[in-house]
């Protein structure tokens, strides 16, 4: 590269007016940074997969929990992976699917929301955030066709309504609002069963956290790709609570108490709470 008179100056794309979307900016200026713009190798291969995410609303907010296991075929690729992230101050995103691409998408989504906030000086509405995430998943369809799919679960506190809301996605970028509770990932069938039986409307926060942990426990009970609480290594599910105070992740001590109670109650009673 020769050093022209413009060397070092900010490229024209930076100074272009218009979009407050970070994804659109790098799509035009540095497309190699977008997972959806990379050439795909042919054939299939194995990559670590993340598994079960559950989310449930409660009075005044929403809780999201994820197990910590990533699997590659029959191998446990990672036993303490984080799969639930704060997307911004008032929303959390959990991911199931190909872990590498999913985590990249979450990082991109976090920057996308913060970028909008800085350029516009305002927060996106909760639907706005959910739709941004949908368009990012949609762009990933070609990869999903090759087995590198990412299926997120998005939950946030709606500042307009003063309530927690949950959005689910499919690989084509379809975005669906879920009522009350939802789960995605390989253990989601079992987790949904548990949520259906345990969830009540207007639960207090602590009970919603316990219900989410029970659901993860039930998913891990019957799905080999979902990791249960690991008492020996002190690895607990990730639990995020989103309410009017923002996103808060439960600390290890808090989680240990919840998990130990769930395990205690299941002694000689493997079906757990009902």
């Amino acid at each position: 590269m020769s050093l022209g008179p413009d060397a070092g100056r900010l490229p024209a794309a930076y100074l272009a007016t218009g979009s407050s979307s970070f994804t659109e900016f790098i799509g035009a200026h540095a497309p190699q940074l977008l997972p959806s713009r990379r050439p795909l190798p042919s054939g299939s291969f194995e990559a670590p997969h993340g598994t079960t995410i559950v989310s449930a609303t409660f009075a005044g907010g929403v809780v999201m929990a994820g197990d910590r296991r990533a699997t590659m075929g029959n191998i446990i690729a990672n036993r303490d992976m984080e799969k639930v992230f704060a997307a911004d101050e008032y929303s959390a995103v959990g991911i199931a699917g190909t872990a590498g691409i999913a985590i990249e998408l979450v990082k991109l989504f976090q920057v996308e929301l913060e970028h909008y906030e800085k350029i516009e000086g305002a927060l996106l509405s909760l639907e706005g955030k959910a739709n941004r995430l949908a368009s990012m998943i949609r762009a990933n369809l070609a990869m999903a066709m090759q087995g590198l799919s990412v299926v997120p679960l998005f939950a946030g506190y709606d500042l307009e309504r003063g309530a927690g809301r949950i959005f689910s996605y499919d690989v084509t970028g379809g975005c669906y609002e879920e009522r009350d509770h939802h789960s995605v990932g390989s253990g989601s069938l079992f987790a949904r069963g548990a949520l259906k039986k345990l969830w009540r409307s207007g639960l207090p926060t602590d009970d919603a956290v316990r219900v989410a942990v029970e659901a993860i426990y039930d998913a891990a009970d019957d799905d080999s790709a979902t990791g249960g609480p690991d008492v020996g290594r002190r690895i607990w599910p990730t639990v995020a609570v989103v309410d009017q105070d923002g996103v808060r992740f439960l600390g290890d001590d808090e989680l240990r108490a919840v998990v130990e109670r769930v395990i205690d109650q299941r002694q000689d009673n493997p079906g757990g709470a009902r």
Binding site: L10, A87, E89, G251
Partner: protein, 289 residues
């Protein structure tokens, strides 16, 4: 009749451009950037609530400008894009004010020499460090020259007069209240020698980079908090460490949480990150897997 020759000497050309830019900048109201004990303070005389002269660029970096709004707004957006792209492709700590100041300097310099009209702007890029000695304040002028300033900068119409006064009166380690009072008093002075004006909180745009905050350190200061900081009879000399309790955008501190304890605590403060391992007691890094 022969027409006049079109030769203009490079000296004359640059001088004309510089005069043009300087004239544009001198028409505007001033902005003061100065260090205080817990960070860097930005004070602008700006009655608009929506068209900002001071803005957040990144976690520890902010931007202040005087001159033509459309031109510096363009540079601000470019700076946010530069910082977010860099932070995304490397890491958040790799975004520095020095890198951004260099990019701005090259841009302003190229526009000054090559385009038909220079940018009529003067900007400050500031980064708050771990301690007052690590703070960095860069002043960039319309022709792309950069100055690494220590402690304070004043730009705009009355910039030179304010800077001369700051040289006398600014001291390291001032509290936020003291620094703000000084800046507001100097902004109210008339460089032409007229009577001093007293600027009301509604005529001011005030923001800080607060070094004690985790991650995003930029906060605007408004409402009751700004009035209390400017009021000598109040006991308030510093901004609260926690954000306002009301749900919503937490870019502005209005001092609602001055009394009583806030429900928002430090763990919700780092907006898009898991609590660090010290707070959380285990590895909370994101990138694994």
């Amino acid at each position: 009749m022969t027409s006049m020759p079109f030769y203009v000497s490079p000296e004359q050309l640059m001088k004309d451009r510089a005069d043009y830019a300087r004239k544009g900048i001198a028409r505007g109201r001033s902005v003061v950037v100065l260090g205080y004990d817990r960070g860097i303070l930005f004070v602008a005389e700006n009655p608009s609530r929506a068209l900002h002269k001071v803005s957040e660029i990144y976690d520890r970096i902010a931007f202040a400008a005087v001159g033509k709004y459309n031109e510096f707004e363009n540079l601000r957006v470019a700076g946010v894009r530069y910082a977010d792209l860099r932070g995304y492709s490397y890491d958040r700590i790799d975004v520095t004010a020095r890198g951004l100041a260099n990019a701005y300097a090259q841009t302003l310099g190229t526009v000054f020499t090559q385009e038909s009209k220079p940018y009529e702007v003067e900007i400050v890029v500031a980064e708050v460090g771990q301690g007052p000695d690590d703070d960095q304040i860069y002043r960039l002028t319309y022709d792309g020259s950069v100055a690494d300033e220590h402690g304070f900068v004043a730009m705009g119409g009355a910039g030179d007069a304010i800077e001369a006064a700051l040289k006398q009166r600014w001291t390291p380690g001032m509290s936020l209240g003291e620094a703000l009072t000084l800046a507001v008093e100097l902004l109210g002075k008339d460089p032409a020698g007229g009577p001093d004006r007293t600027l009301a909180p509604t005529q001011l745009e005030v923001a800080v980079l607060d070094r004690e905050r985790p991650r995003r350190t930029f906060r605007r200061i408004g409402g009751g908090l700004l009035a209390a900081l400017l009021n000598h009879d109040s006991q308030v000399t510093d901004a609260p460490v926690v954000d306002d309790a009301t749900p919503g955008h937490h870019g502005t501190l209005t001092g609602e949480t001055l009394t009583g304890d806030a429900p928002r605590d430090a763990t919700t403060n780092p907006q898009t990150q898991r609590p660090t391992s010290q707070e959380q007691g285990h590895d909370g890094s994101e990138g694994q897997g």
